[in-house]
């Protein structure tokens, strides 16, 4: 009995060893290492519908930022890599920019595709080289359950909302239903820091860094405290607003277009999307740009470049849009059978950027690895001012000092909406 068991154990061990050695021999496709299209459904569509048409096998992996950076940094350090192609946000690729292959020749090889020139120039990081090629873009918009519309304050147009009207709207909904009905993604997986950087600050101060501690910013935080009264307290747990919107826990939300698509696709008749509200300084909004880059350790630069060019074809861009709800970076005519989420948020993104008072605000440029610290300044300020009720002036002064250190350390010049600066962007 005992002997037989031992025999089984040994057989099992031998089998395991045999398998683990055999597993090594399998053929590998081009490895596309990305931080985007991470949800399993999107990954699946990227693999079959987008990359399936390339003609050669491509392995697409969506990663958390931690493993993404650890892996690529290890490969760069070891000087030998398996990752052929990188996909990431403008801010993420920035910290790797000195280890990326110049992609200028790919750009000239894309032929008649009209690539958005603003986005192309973003991909140079101010150098003479094309560090990354724009891949896809998105933005953050507002979404509302149609039941909420009846509580809109008199005279307010949901397509041209202001922050004051949003507060009044929230108050009306809370009084009518007994619980706050506005939601923000303030959980650990949420993107609330982008709300402050790309929406609130530009709308109230017309700046992100320079006027961080200005009197306008002080007024802004006080207004936001009033808005917070109308915000569902469960917001500090929300990651993706599509879920509380679907369950009806929240009626009005601000969120990334990709993180709204489930709600809009499942119940297209239940929801409306509209541009973010405007503040005294304009309608702040943040376009999000993802790019494709090739690391210097790529095992097959030529094929990786061919794949990068393939990703910019109008057909591929439309397939990518279907897969991820990220919008094309080249000029395309959209077919009529797009999913509801794409139609709704596409129209809203266009309306938002075309609004007469639009105040576009870019993702941080040139702060590289300090990106996380930069975001933390805004989240810390939010937590101290709103959640802990500390004095606005004092918190702003203290956080401004941290912000100034980040700017001095990274030597990053100002980016939109702040006016360009010589040397590091000043915090006044």
């Amino acid at each position: 009995m005992m002997r037989r068991k031992q025999g089984t154990m040994i057989a099992l061990a031998a089998l395991t060893l045999a398998f683990s050695v055999a597993g090594r021999a399998e053929a590998q496709g081009l490895l596309f290492w990305s931080t985007q299209a991470k949800p399993v459904e999107e990954t699946q569509k990227m693999r079959t519908e987008v990359l399936g048409g390339f003609g050669k096998p491509v392995d697409y992996y969506g990663n958390d930022a931690g493993p993404f950076f650890t892996r690529i940094q290890a490969e760069l350090k070891a000087g030998k890599g398996t990752i052929a192609l990188l996909g990431g946000l403008h801010g993420e690729l920035a910290s790797l920019s000195s280890d990326l292959v110049d992609l200028k020749d790919v750009l000239s090889a894309t032929g008649d595709a009209k690539i958005n020139p603003t986005l192309v120039s973003l991909g140079t990081y101010g150098t003479a080289e094309q560090k990354y090629l724009p891949w896809m873009q998105a933005s953050y918009v507002m979404a509302a359950n149609k039941e909420a519309l009846q509580y809109l304050p008199a005279g307010a147009d949901v397509q041209k909302l202001t922050y004051d009207e949003l507060i009044a709207w929230g108050k009306a909904m809370r009084e009518a239903t007994g619980s706050p009905k506005i939601g923000l993604p303030a959980g650990p997986k949420g993107l609330l820091h982008r709300f402050f950087q790309g929406y609130l600050y530009p709308s109230y101060t017309g700046s992100v860094v320079t006027k961080f501690r200005s009197p306008e910013a002080e007024a802004m935080w006080n207004a936001f405290k009033m808005l917070w009264e109308e915000i569902n307290p469960a917001s500090t747990n929300y990651g993706f607003m599509q879920e509380p919107l679907l369950t009806g826990e929240v009626w009005v939300a601000w969120e990334h277009t990709a993180r709204l698509q489930d709600a809009l696709n499942q119940k297209p008749d239940q929801f409306v999307t509209f541009p973010a509200p405007a503040g005294p300084a304009g309608r702040g909004f943040m376009p999000v740009v993802a790019g494709i880059a090739i690391p210097k350790t790529s095992p097959n630069v030529e094929e990786a470049k061919a794949l990068a060019a393939y990703m910019l074809k109008p057909e591929t861009q439309i397939a990518t849009l279907r897969a991820t709800s990220f919008f094309p970076v080249v000029e395309v005519t959209l077919p009529d059978d797009m999913p509801a989420a794409v139609k709704m948020s596409g129209a809203t993104v266009a309306a938002q950027s075309a609004a007469p008072d639009a105040k576009p605000s870019l993702l941080p440029v040139g702060i590289g690895g300090l990106d996380g610290k930069f975001n933390k300044v805004f989240i810390d300020t939010f937590q101290r001012v709103v959640l802990r009720g500390q004095d606005v002036r004092q918190v702003l002064d203290e956080q401004a000092a941290t912000l100034k250190d980040i700017m001095t350390e990274s030597k990053a010049p100002c980016w939109a909406p702040d006016k360009t600066s010589e040397g590091p962007c000043p915090v006044e």
């Binding site: 398998f19 493993p67 599509q242």
Partner: protein, 283 residues
């Protein structure tokens, strides 16, 4: 009649403290069982439910069998392969940590040698450093020596993580087996090795198996090293977990079920070894 009633009342009065004790015991058991079973129940109901049923409340008692969410994973390229990898890595981790942990545990239990305490501490120290901190240099090293993206390489890392438990569990296990038994075997003509094989090992086997199962579970649940050290040979946890936390709810539940059901089945299959470890501890 009255006398009968009195005795009954007396009996129930006498039984009262015991029955209230039982009530506390029973409710504690129920709470503990529910603690484990309710999440699994919700996971299964939601994994089997349709997309609409997942966001609905209250939940149906008996799950409906809408396999759409689960079918997604059956068609998701790489899941069977990743599942196999998970079993291979976890199996190898189990074998390695028993192979290395059992002798180490035996030595700690039976011999007095200089540095025994230091060794005990050093084994524990492997858990003192967070993996994300070690991952970068480790990956660089693995790429250079060619261990990168291999099942053996990952199993080695997981073995390091499982080692403290394996060594400490097995040290206390061997300590609980009386040395006299071993000495008796020596007097009857056994060498140190054959005494270990014929006397100590059969007694320790269930405990060793339990330590191995522990190693299996640690390896099964580990994400970060698996996500960074492997690419083509990802384990199921590394393959799915990063994507699941940002996936829609129905897929989260289905993926969660895909992740835990194989591990649950494995634990169920080997449960008798786990229980027999308690048997040893009680002896």
């Amino acid at each position: 009649m009255t006398s009968l009633a009195t005795t009954e009342a007396e009996a129930s009065a006498r039984a009262e403290p015991r029955s209230s004790g039982r009530l506390v015991m029973a409710s504690a058991v129920i709470v503990l069982v529910a603690w484990v079973l309710v999440p699994i129940y919700l996971l299964v109901v939601n994994a089997l439910g349709s997309v609409a049923a997942v966001t609905a409340w209250p939940k149906a008692l008996v799950p409906e069998f809408d396999l759409a969410s689960l079918a997604f994973f059956a068609n998701y390229a790489g899941v069977p392969r990743a599942l196999l990898n998970s079993f291979l890595v976890a199996g190898l981790t189990m074998v390695l940590s028993i192979g290395l942990g059992a002798p180490a545990g035996y030595a700690l239990a039976r011999f007095r040698f200089p540095g025994a305490n230091l060794f005990r501490l050093a084994v524990l120290m492997t858990r003192a450093f967070p993996l994300p901190l070690l991952a970068l240099p480790l990956t660089v090293l693995f790429i250079r020596v060619g261990l990168d993206d291999t099942i053996i390489g990952l199993a080695l890392v997981h073995t390091t993580l499982a080692m403290p438990f394996a060594v400490l569990i097995m040290a206390s296990l061997f300590m609980s087996i009386p040395e006299e038994l071993e000495e008796a075997a020596w007097t009857l003509g056994c060498s140190r090795l054959s005494a270990f094989r014929k006397v100590v090992l059969p007694l320790a086997l269930p405990g060793i198996a339990a330590a191995g199962i522990f190693a299996f579970v640690i390896s099964w649940n580990e994400v970060f090293a698996a996500a960074v050290l492997t690419i083509e040979n990802k384990t199921l946890t590394a393959f799915l977990l990063q994507s699941l936390d940002v996936s829609p709810l129905p897929l989260k539940f289905a993926g969660g079920a895909v992740l835990i059901v194989p591990a649950l089945l494995f634990l169920f299959a080997v449960r008798k070894y786990l229980f027999s470890l308690w048997g040893i501890a009680n002896r």
